[in-house]
C-alpha cells in the first residue's frame, strides 16, 4: 500500500466522511488514492474556502472537519482559514502537500516552510518524514484536534511519503495513541467546585457569561439548570450565542463592545461573575480595571492558560464545562444551599432594564433597515417551524453584530461566526461546510457585500454541487464597520470604505446558474426568504439596506456601561476612477520632464502641478 492510501485509510478510520480541498502537484498521489475511496471530496474554488468550509462543518457538527491543499501557495491560502479555526477553538485537520523530502530546503517549485508557517496558528502540527509515521500521526492529529480545548491540527505531507510503500500490518493504525505531553484536565477540582457553589449560594447580584466553551462542551442543559436553580441571569459572548435560549426570561443577550445594555450593566454591577468557557477577550471586557470590579469571579475553562490571563480570578476551575456545571448543580442541590431569593431585586432591576431597551425592529423604511431583515428572518424561521433545524452563519462586520444583537438564537451550534479572528469572508464558505454537516438543516449565510466578495468564488461550489445554501446579502456597498469607526473615532473622515455600484450580485449569481433576487421593499422580505428556504436550491437574496445604519457600541478599551450611539450618516466618500489616476500620474511625469528641461521652475509651482 502506498502512503497516500494509508492516509485515506487513516482518515476513514477516524470516520471522516467528507474532505474539502483543492488539488495540486504535491498532492497528486493523495488525489490518486482518493479516486478509489468512498470519501466525498468537495472541490472548493479557493483553498481558503476549503478551510472555512471544514471549519463550518466542525462547528455545525462538533466533528473534526478536514481540508487539504497542495504545497506552497495552496498552504498559504489555507492559513486564514486555519487561523480562524484556531482563534475559535474549532477542531479541523488541515493536510498540506509538500515537495519530496529530498527537496525540502532547496527552495523547490511550490515549496514553503509549511511547518513553520502553521506553527503559531495551530494547536499542533506534524511534518511526516516517512510513510510508517502515517497511521500514528493521523490518529494523534484527530485526537489532539477534538479533545481538551479543540483546535486545528496541521499535517505536512511530502510527496515522496505519499508514494512510499507501507505495510499497514507492520505499522497498523493504533487503537489508542499515547501523547506523553498531552493530558487535558476534564474533572474540575472538588475543592474549587465547593467554593464556587458556596459563592453562588450567597450571591445577591450574580451573572453568568456563557462563552463558546459551553457550546463546544455541549453543556447547554447544565447551564440552564444552574441558571434556573438560582435565577441567575445569563449573558453570552458572540461565540456563546446559542448556549442559552435568548427568549428565556433570564437571557440578557450579548455582552461586550457591541453588547446589550442589560448584559453590560449586569456584568458591571454584579457581585458574582460566573464565566464559563470564555476567555475575557478585549471585545468582552473593555477597560480591564473597571470590568466587573465589584464581583468575585468564578472562571470555568478547559484551558488552564486562559485562567488569570486577562482578568483576576477568585475561583479558577479547570476542566470540562459540562462535568463541572453538573458537579456544581448537584453540589448545590445536595447541600440544599438556598439563597432565599437573595437576588430577587437584582432580577427585577435587570428585567426592567431589559424592557426599557427592547430594540425597535419593525421598520418599514426604504432602503431597508437591517433590523427589519432580522425580524423577517425570525418570523420565517418560526413560521416554517425550522428553529431546531436551521443554522445561521455570519460574516464579519456590521452584518455580524446586527445578527448577534437582534437575532434570537435558541440552540447550540446554530449560530456560527468568526469571533476571535474576525475573518471577513468566513460566512459564506462556512455555510457550505455547515450544510454538508447537517444536510437536513436549513443553512442561511448572512453576509455583507465586503465579506461576500472575499470568497464570492464559492458560488461555483454551491452551484456545481447544488448545495442549497441561502445567502442573505446585507448589501450597502460600504465597508460598514470601518465606516462606522471612521465616523465615530476619526471625525467622519471616510477613507476607502465605498464599494461603488458594482457588481450586480443578481447577475453574478445568475452567471453561476443560481437563483437570485434583489429586495428593496421591506414588505417583500418574508415572502422572498420563504421562497429561497423552500426552494431547496442555492439562493442569493440581495437586500438593499440603508448604508447609514449603525449599531451602538462601547469604544475600545472603554467602560462597559459607556455605550455610545453611532453616528448615522450616509457614506459620502468619493471614489476616484482610473482616468483620474492616469491624469495625475501623467501630469507628475510631465512635470518631472519639465524639471529637467527648465531649471527655473520654482518649488511652489512644482507642488501645485502635482496636487491638483
Amino acid at each position: 500500500m502506498k502512503g497516500a492510501e494509508a492516509v485515506i485509510k487513516a482518515l476513514e478510520y477516524e470516520k471522516v466522511d467528507v474532505i474539502f480541498g483543492y488539488p495540486g502537484g504535491a498532492l497528486l498521489p493523495f488525489y490518486d488514492a482518493l479516486y478509489d475511496s468512498d470519501l466525498i471530496h468537495i472541490l472548493t474554488r479557493h483553498e481558503q474556502g476549503a478551510a472555512h468550509a471544514a471549519d463550518g462543518y466542525a462547528r455545525a457538527s462538533g466533528k473534526v472537519g478536514v481540508c487539504v491543499a497542495t504545497s506552497g501557495p495552496g498552504a498559504t491560502n489555507l492559513v486564514t482559514g486555519v487561523a480562524t479555526a484556531h482563534a475559535d477553538s474549532s477542531p479541523i485537520v488541515a493536510i498540506t502537500g509538500q515537495v519530496p523530502t529530498k527537496l525540502i530546503g532547496n527552495d523547490a517549485f511550490q515549496e514553503i516552510d509549511a511547518l513553520g508557517l502553521f506553527m503559531p496558528i495551530v494547536k499542533h502540527n506534524f511534518q511526516l518524514r516517512s510513510a510508517k509515521e502515517i497511521p500514528e500521526t493521523i490518529r494523534s492529529a484527530f485526537n489532539i484536534a477534538k479533545t481538551g480545548r479543540p483546535g486545528p491540527v496541521h499535517i505536512d505531507l511530502p510527496k515522496d511519503v505519499q508514494e512510499e510503500e507501507l505495510d499497514l500490518d507492520k505499522y497498523p493504525i493504533p487503537a489508542k495513541v499515547e501523547l506523553p505531553g498531552y493530558k487535558p484536565t476534564k474533572m474540575g477540582h472538588p475543592k474549587q467546585i465547593k467554593l464556587a457553589s458556596s459563592h453562588i449560594s450567597k450571591a445577591e447580584r450574580p451573572v453568568i457569561i456563557a462563552g463558546g466553551g459551553v457550546n463546544i462542551a455541549n453543556a447547554t442543559s447544565e447551564l440552564m439548570q444552574l441558571a434556573e436553580l438560582y435565577s441567575i441571569p445569563v449573558c453570552t459572548t458572540l461565540m456563546g450565542k446559542g448556549s442559552f435560549p435568548e427568549d428565556h426570561p433570564l437571557a440578557l443577550g450579548m455582552v461586550g463592545m457591541h453588547g446589550t445594555k442589560p448584559a453590560n450593566y449586569a456584568v458591571s454591577e454584579s457581585d458574582l461573575l460566573i464565566a464559563i468557557g470564555c476567555r475575557f477577550s478585549d471585545r468582552i471586557t473593555g477597560d480591564i480595571n473597571s470590568f466587573a470590579s465589584h464581583a468575585k469571579i468564578i472562571h470555568i475553562d478547559i484551558d488552564p492558560a486562559e485562567i488569570g490571563k486577562n482578568v483576576r480570578v477568585d475561583v479558577p476551575i479547570v476542566g470540562d464545562a459540562k462535568l463541572i456545571l453538573n458537579n456544581i448543580v448537584s453540589h448545590l442541590i445536595k447541600m440544599n444551599m438556598n439563597n432565599n431569593n437573595a437576588n430577587r431585586e437584582w432580577i427585577e432591576y435587570l428585567q426592567s432594564l431589559k424592557k426599557s431597551c427592547t430594540p425597535k425592529m419593525d421598520y418599514s423604511d426604504v432602503p431597508i433597515k437591517p433590523q427589519r431583515i432580522v425580524k423577517g428572518l425570525m418570523n420565517v424561521i418560526r413560521e416554517l417551524n425550522i428553529e431546531k433545524r436551521s443554522i445561521i452563519t455570519t460574516d464579519v462586520g456590521q452584518n455580524q453584530m446586527w445578527m448577534a444583537h437582534y437575532f434570537k438564537t435558541h440552540f447550540p451550534r446554530s449560530f456560527l461566526s468568526s469571533g476571535g479572528l474576525g475573518t471577513m469572508g468566513f460566512g459564506f464558505p462556512s455555510a457550505i461546510g455547515a450544510k454538508i454537516a447537517k444536510p437536513d438543516f436549513k443553512v442561511i449565510s448572512i453576509t455583507g457585500d465586503g465579506g461576500f466578495m472575499m470568497n464570492i468564488q464559492e458560488l461555483g461550489t454551491i452551484a456545481d454541487y447544488n448545495i442549497p445554501v441561502v445567502i442573505c446579502l446585507f448589501d450597502n456597498r460600504t465597508l460598514g464597520m470601518v465606516y462606522q469607526w471612521q465616523n465615530i473615532f476619526y471625525g467622519k473622515r471616510q477613507c476607502s470604505v465605498n464599494f461603488g455600484e458594482t457588481p450586480d450580485f443578481v447577475k453574478v449569481a445568475e452567471g453561476y446558474g443560481i437563483n437570485a433576487l434583489r429586495i428593496t421593499n421591506p414588505e417583500e422580505i418574508e415572502e422572498c426568504l420563504k421562497e429561497a428556504l423552500l426552494s431547496d436550491k442555492p439562493y442569493l437574496l440581495d437586500f438593499a439596506i440603508d448604508p447609514s445604519e449603525a449599531l451602538s457600541m462601547v469604544p475600545p478599551g472603554g467602560k462597559l456601561k459607556n455605550i455610545i450611539d453611532p453616528i448615522t450618516e450616509h457614506p459620502n466618500e468619493k471614489v476616484i476612477c482610473f482616468d483620474e489616476i492616469k491624469r495625475r500620474f501623467l501630469e507628475k511625469d510631465s512635470n518631472k520632464n519639465e524639471d529637467t528641461l527648465s531649471e527655473e521652475l520654482s518649488e511652489s509651482e512644482k507642488d501645485e502641478g502635482i496636487k491638483v
Partner: protein
C-alpha cells in the same frame, strides 16, 4: 480570600529572574515552537540552553526569563499547552544547581599580564584552554554571578572575545523532572 488576593497583587508587579526547566520531545522544530511562543506572546528570553538528556527522545531546555509573577505564570501555562512539552518547572522556587560555561579570550601581550590572568583563573577555578603570543583563552564554569565577577576582573586587560552558554540547571536532591503533566 481577600488577603490572598491583595498579596498576589503586590507580588505581581515585581520583576524576578526565573529559571524554567522544560523537558521536551526531541522532535525537529521543537526549538522553533518554544522560541516562537516566547516571541509571539512578547516574553523576553534572557538565555536559553538546549541539550540532550538521559533519554535520547527527550531534550532539556533551560530558559532564563525575566518577568513578574503574572508573566511567569503565563509562560509556564503556555509552555504546558504545547503538545511536545512533557514537563515544565520553575526552578527558582526550588533549590537547584545552576551552571554556566564561559570561554573568554583575553588580551595578554606580555608575561606579567599572562601570569596575572593565570593567577586570577586559578582563584576562580578556571582553566587556561589556549595560549598565544598576544592572548590567552580561559574556560570558566559556575553560576552567572561567578562568571560576571571574573569578567569584571579581567575587563581591564581587554576582552577580545567571549562566548557564554547561558545557564543550565537541575534540581538538587533526588527530585527529577519526569512526571506527566497534571
Amino acid at each position: 480570600m481577600e488577603s490572598i488576593k491583595s498579596e498576589k497583587k503586590e507580588k505581581n508587579n515585581e520583576t524576578h529572574t526565573h529559571i524554567i526547566s522544560v523537558l521536551v520531545l526531541n522532535n525537529p522544530g521543537v526549538l522553533q515552537r518554544i522560541a516562537g511562543l516566547f516571541t509571539r506572546r512578547g516574553y523576553n528570553i534572557s538565555s536559553i540552553t538546549v541539550g540532550s538528556t538521559e533519554s535520547p527522545n527527550l531534550a532539556r531546555m533551560t530558559i532564563v526569563v525575566k518577568g513578574n509573577d503574572k508573566i511567569l505564570e503565563q509562560v509556564v501555562k503556555q509552555l504546558n499547552k504545547l503538545i511536545e512539552v512533557i514537563k515544565v518547572s520553575d526552578l527558582s522556587v526550588n533549590k537547584c544547581v545552576k551552571r554556566e560555561l564561559c570561554l573568554i579570550k583575553i588580551h595578554a601581550p606580555n608575561e606579567s599580564s599572562k601570569s596575572q590572568i593565570i593567577q586570577y583563573t586559578n582563584v576562580f577555578r578556571g582553566k587556561i584552554v589556549d595560549l598565544s603570543q598576544e592572548s590567552l583563552t580561559v574556560e570558566i564554569t559556575g553560576n552567572s554571578d561567578k562568571i560576571n565577577a571574573f569578567v569584571d576582573l579581567v575587563r581591564n586587560f581587554g576582552i577580545k572575545e567571549m562566548a557564554r552558554t547561558g545557564l543550565t540547571a537541575l534540581m538538587r536532591g533526588p527530585k527529577i523532572l519526569k512526571s506527566k503533566k497534571s
